[in-house]
């Protein structure tokens, strides 16, 4: 931040439950004054119902699948039923002659290689979905089959079938996950990526008085968004309009402009209501491209909606991992060395690492990491709620629990010794009190077949900020207020949060504010991935609102006969500070505006204290988002069933703006974590390469009876870094759940489960109760 016109302001800092202080920051002139702590505010920090809640539960809300345009065509995609093959011939002539067919797109032409079951081959747009499907059945493809491999261990063997031949490389671009380029490819293994290693690992282990060392395995999880991937593309001579279920309207606009050689102002991207994304809707996606190409070919709008099987096969997933973790410590618990060797698979894609979790969570002078992508003939991985860190935490936080057990230390004490974060220290304190940590017994101590246990685990997630994020606020002459941004609501309720922030600034109620989002005709907002939406879009929203308010004050000050600085807002009124007799309604004040509206577009300023790291349009804030979760479980040692009875989730998101929405994000994160811990797993048949559970019946998801009582505790953590000082929550809430449950299971039965999901079969095997199969 440069320039002499910075001004000094004093901001509240600290964790509210610990104690607050003040910090002086130099901020740009167009930034609003510091926001007081939540207890001194009217709207921010108060639970507010989401604006679209009623429409959602009554079914009135419109999703992308509900978009209807005149002449709309319906597209379906023919997909490979072979896990690895070379296309020798594609004959679409008969298909093209089918009734209703308007456009045919060959995706995998002669000599193309399909590398997984579900890989797209041909797409057809027709007047009805049934006509498109009937036409696809007429497509004739000749394949030459190639050897394939669909599991991580087999793919690592020296003579395994190769997913990519020498010279062929998978595409590296992947939203949200940084992927190093230039890593060697040996067989199916790409890597190792050793970034983050520090100190002298051998020395570190030499200093260790206690060692824990184990292998951990995590499964492939699919996103299972309630709303499938969906797009309606309308290509016209003067430009392209696209409705798409996306986590990043502005990003999709860029992708479309680039892919199709259009100017940015020829592309408009809109998103209606969304039913989830979890990282799988971060980009246009190949399916999105097909829809646009079909629309261009047909000269008509085209709708393409993936079905449930396609969702599992070809819309991304959380990569499976195999992690070897070794930790050395001194008797008092001080860590001396951590070494991590990881092999993960994102199918035919990259990005199967486990992030920076083991590297960054604890202070440990010596750390070494080697992470590898292993290619298999399966659908490409993608970002999924807390990518990398979620499988990473499963291994690391169990290893820490094991270390504590071996050292005879309380797992909380071991964390106190090695974790520098004051946030997590407070979270441990609050969570331990809630769950009743002092009642925790020795591992396996319960008599009888049903054994109970308590465990905890921690999470770490970067506080991401999109610096390329803007928001417009308008005050109209009738006193109505609008907020506009291309930012999208993937289900989190960001529109309500924006309304709160702007309402606070104008002294109004959230219901007074009209929020228009999800359209690239509005100022470009941030993506909704990396848990950055609130952190990126609320500061410019407040900033714009504050600037509009200043403009209003300047225009109405003469009416009051005071200087603009004398004016304040509150309870829907504009008035003179400290003089309640001199006020008029905001509506009356706006009526005197010289123009029909006042409007300001503000963009996200840098964090006032600076960023830790910057990556083109995005940046990482100085401090991470900490979280600590505690789980209480009951394990039936005779049937292997694990029942999660209670979860206490203590999370940090900076300044909480809407506790109700935050709680609902945390509950969602915990539920997804329970599902990951106990149930979900994509199952691929070794002999045919097919996913056997590409549905929601045999692919098991957490349901109502598996939902425990979830106690959400949200810190109020002020750092004086932006106009709202708010950060994200959605991903951090997902990371600690599985290891917290695994540690609770250990506490219950005295046996450690090191692979996911922890099904009855896994539990019984760990207990030694399963006879050898034939």
């Amino acid at each position: 931040m440069s320039g002499d016109n910075l001004r000094s302001e004093k901001f509240p800092v600290g964790i509210a439950s610990v104690g607050l202080a003040e910090i002086e920051r130099r901020i740009p002139p167009d930034e609003p004054p510091p926001l007081p702590v939540n207890s001194a505010l009217q709207v921010i920090g108060k639970s507010t119902r989401r604006q679209d809640g009623r429409a959602k539960v009554t079914g009135a809300v419109r999703y992308t699948v509900d978009i209807k345009l005149p002449g709309l065509l319906h597209a379906r995609v023919l997909r490979s039923s072979l896990p690895h093959a070379r296309v020798q011939a594609v004959d679409t002539a008969a298909a093209a002659r089918q009734p209703g067919v308007r456009a045919v797109l060959v995706i995998a032409p002669r000599d193309a290689i399909v590398r997984y079951v579900g890989a797209p081959v041909v797409a057809i747009a027709a007047t009805t979905p049934a006509a498109a499907e009937a036409a696809l059945r007429q497509v004739r493809i000749d394949y030459a089959t190639l050897p394939f491999v669909v599991d991580l261990d087999t793919a690592r063997r020296p003579n395994a079938p190769l997913v990519y031949q020498a010279g062929e490389q998978p595409s590296l671009a992947i939203a949200e996950i940084p992927v190093a380029s230039g890593l060697p490819l040996t067989g199916n293994v790409r890597g190792p990526e050793t970034q983050g290693s520090r100190g002298n690992i051998d020395q570190g282990f030499a200093q260790a008085e206690m060692l824990v060392e184990s292998d951990y395995r995590t499964q492939t999880q699919t996103h299972c968004c309630m709303e499938p991937h969906a797009i309606v593309a309308d290509w016209r001579p003067d430009g392209l309009t696209v409705w798409i279920s996306t986590q990043f309207t502005a990003g999709v606009r860029h992708e479309l402009a680039q892919t199709f050689g259009l100017k940015l102002n020829q592309v408009r991207v809109k998103v209606a209501a969304m039913g989830g994304g979890f990282g799988s809707k971060s980009q246009l996606g190949s399916y999105g491209q097909y829809a646009v190409m079909l629309s261009r070919q047909a000269g008509a709008p085209v709708r393409l909606v993936l079905d449930r099987a396609e969702e599992h096969l070809d819309s991304g997933n959380r990569p499976a991992t195999s992690q070897h973790l070794r930790i050395g410590a001194q008797r008092d618990g001080t860590l001396t060395a951590i070494s991590l060797v990881e092999y993960g698979t994102a199918g035919v894609g990259v990005g199967a690492g486990v992030g920076n979790f083991a590297q960054a969570l604890y202070t440990c002078p010596n750390f070494s990491s080697a992470q590898n992508d292993v290619f298999i003939n399966a659908g490409r991985g993608s970002a999924m709620r807390g990518p990398g860190n979620t499988p990473g935490a499963f291994a690391m936080e169990q290893a820490m629990d094991e270390l504590a057990d071996k050292l005879g230390l309380d797992p909380l004490t071991l964390r106190d010794r090695n974790d520098r974060s004051p946030v997590r220290r407070e979270e441990r304190r609050l969570g331990a009190a809630r769950i009743g940590w002092d009642r925790r017994h020795a591992p396996g101590a319960d008599p009888g077949p049903i054994k109970r246990g308590i465990g905890m685990a921690q999470s770490l997630w970067g506080a991401n900020v999109q610096t390329n994020a803007a928001c417009e606020v308008r005050l109209l002459r009738d006193g109505s207020v609008e907020v506009l941004s291309s930012v999208q609501d993937l289900g989190t309720g960001v529109a309500t949060v924006l309304a709160q922030v702007v309402a606070e600034e104008f002294g109004l109620q959230p219901s007074d504010i009209t929020v228009r989002i999800g359209d690239t005709d509005f100022p470009a907002g941030p993506p909704s991935y990396g848990s950055r939406t609130t952190a990126s879009v609320t500061p410019p929203a407040r900033s714009a609102a504050w600037q509009v308010k200043q403009m209003l004050f300047r225009q109405v000050a003469p009416t009051f006969g005071v200087a603009p600085e004398q004016l304040v807002v509150g309870n829907g009124q504009v008035g003179v500070r400290n003089d309640p007799t001199r006020a008029m309604s905001l509506r009356a004040a706006a009526a005197g505006l010289r123009t029909d509206q006042l409007s300001v577009v503000a963009s996200r300023s840098d964090d006032y204290g600076g960023f830790r790291r910057r990556m083109s349009d995005a940046a990482l804030a100085q401090t991470d988002l900490g979280g600590v979760q505690f789980a209480a479980v009951a394990v039936d040692t005779e049937t292997g069933a694990i029942h999660v009875e209670r979860v206490v989730a203590v999370q940090d998101c900076g300044r909480p703006i809407n506790p109700k929405l935050i709680e609902s994000q945390v509950q969602g994160g915990v539920l997804m974590g329970i599902s990951y811990a106990l149930l979900e797993e994509r199952v691929i048949d070794q002999h045919t390469g097919h996913v056997m559970n590409a549905d929601m019946e045999q692919y098991k998801l957490v349901g109502v009876r598996e939902t425990p009582s979830i106690d959400v505790v949200v810190l109020e953590n002020y750092q004086g870094q932006s106009a709202t000082d708010a950060y994200g929550i959605a991903e951090p809430a997902n990371i600690a759940t599985a290891p917290a449950i695994a540690n609770a299971v250990f506490n219950a039965i005295g046996v450690r489960l090191r692979s996911l999901p922890m099904t009855p079969a896994v539990v019984l095997a760990a207990l030694g109760s399963v006879p050898q199969g034939s």
Binding site: T639, G640, V683, D685, Q686, P760, S774
Partner: protein, 341 residues
């Protein structure tokens, strides 16, 4: 899904006249041939039928709806026993007071099935006649032995949910949860043909394993309608229990389930026991050794444990499903104790 026509039957005989093929037969018809389109199949709740059609495994030309047939969904006392109309829903079975009281295991089995939404639509008849859930069977890409192909993918493949008993060449488990309890009570099924004549068969004979016929799970013949399930009368001293274990309590299939029916003499000794395992074999799997472990005994934890162990003797687990054995043994032990409590 392909186009099909729709017709409502007004009586069982009309349905039997219209329905020219069983779903098992229709699924073997080559869809490329016009014969497949001529298939007329029966629909009750339609839960399973529509699943098969959506997967492209079944392409009937016409669907005959049974739901409009009057009286086929009633549950009534019948010669001391109980007659359950084939169109009674699982919800009706789960909540019927007499069933709850005298055939507790059946009511519990029905209640433990699927989800509330499904139970309100799914019929008991359709439940017994649904096709297996083996994921190879349900995949259009896998033409396995049960669909007229050459081999069973499950034996060498992903078989965690498959059979541990009775898997001759095909390792499905019978999908009906209620069937476990019905077999334990010695229920019969009543079938009506186009002429209106009735055929009544013990359910345990009606259900056929792969050794008898690998391409169907029941002895339903084309031109027959299942009209009722008949429960025999039970001595007042009869007690029953049903336990199910799934990977999750809501909305999931059994990985193991057990029904136990006991009758004890005045001195407390067990004089009759019937124990059936579900999700264990291609048919509901009766375990006579476990029953024998109870008869003549006063039931206590030791006896119940012995029955549990006897129940899994002789099992032949596959590569990934041996974990079912300790669960089955546990459920038998617990169900015996619960019934005797």
């Amino acid at each position: 899904m392909d186009r099909f026509s729709w017709q409502s039957a007004r009586s069982p005989t009309e349905a039997a006249t219209l329905g020219n093929t069983t779903v098992a037969e229709a699924m073997l018809a080559d869809p490329a041939l016009s014969a497949a389109a001529d298939c007329v199949v029966l629909k009750a709740g339609g839960i399973d039928l529509l699943d098969l059609m959506k997967e492209g495994l079944l392409r009937p030309g016409r669907v005959v709806n049974l739901r409009g047939i009057p009286g086929l969904d009633s549950i009534a006392e019948d010669a001391g026993g109980l007659r359950i109309g084939a169109l009674a829903t699982l919800e009706q079975v789960a909540t019927h007071p007499t069933l709850r009281q005298r055939y507790t295991a059946l009511a519990d089995a029905a209640e433990s099935s699927a989800s509330p939404q499904i139970r309100h639509v799914a019929t008991l008849g359709g439940n017994l006649l649904q096709r297996p859930r083996c994921w190879y069977f349900r995949s259009a890409a896998h033409r396995c032995a049960r669909k007229g192909g050459e081999y069973c993918f499950a034996f060498t493949g992903e078989n965690r949910y498959h059979a541990v008993f009775g898997h001759d060449d095909c390792a499905i488990v019978h999908p009906s949860t209620s069937a476990t309890a019905l077999v334990a009570f010695g229920a019969h099924v009543e079938l009506t043909n186009a002429q209106g004549s009735l055929r009544t068969v013990p359910l345990s004979d009606f259900m056929v394993g792969p050794a008898v016929d690998i391409m169907r799970e029941t002895d339903l013949r084309s031109g027959e309608v299942l009209t009722a399930v008949v429960l025999p009368s039970m001595p007042a001293s009869t007690r029953s229990a049903f336990l199910k274990q799934a990977e999750k309590p809501s909305f999931d299939w059994s990985i193991a389930d057990v029904a136990v029916v006991l009758d004890r003499a005045a001195d407390g000794r067990c004089q009759h026991a019937s124990i059936v395992l579900g999700a264990a074999a291609p048919v509901p799997w009766r375990v006579p050794h476990a029953e024998a472990a109870l008869v003549g005994q006063t039931i206590d934890a030791t006896v119940a444990h012995a029955a549990g162990q006897a129940a899994i003797a002789g099992a032949a687990p596959l590569r990934h499903n041996a974990y079912k054995l300790p669960i089955l043994a546990t459920l038998v032990r617990r169900a015996v104790l619960q019934a005797a409590a």
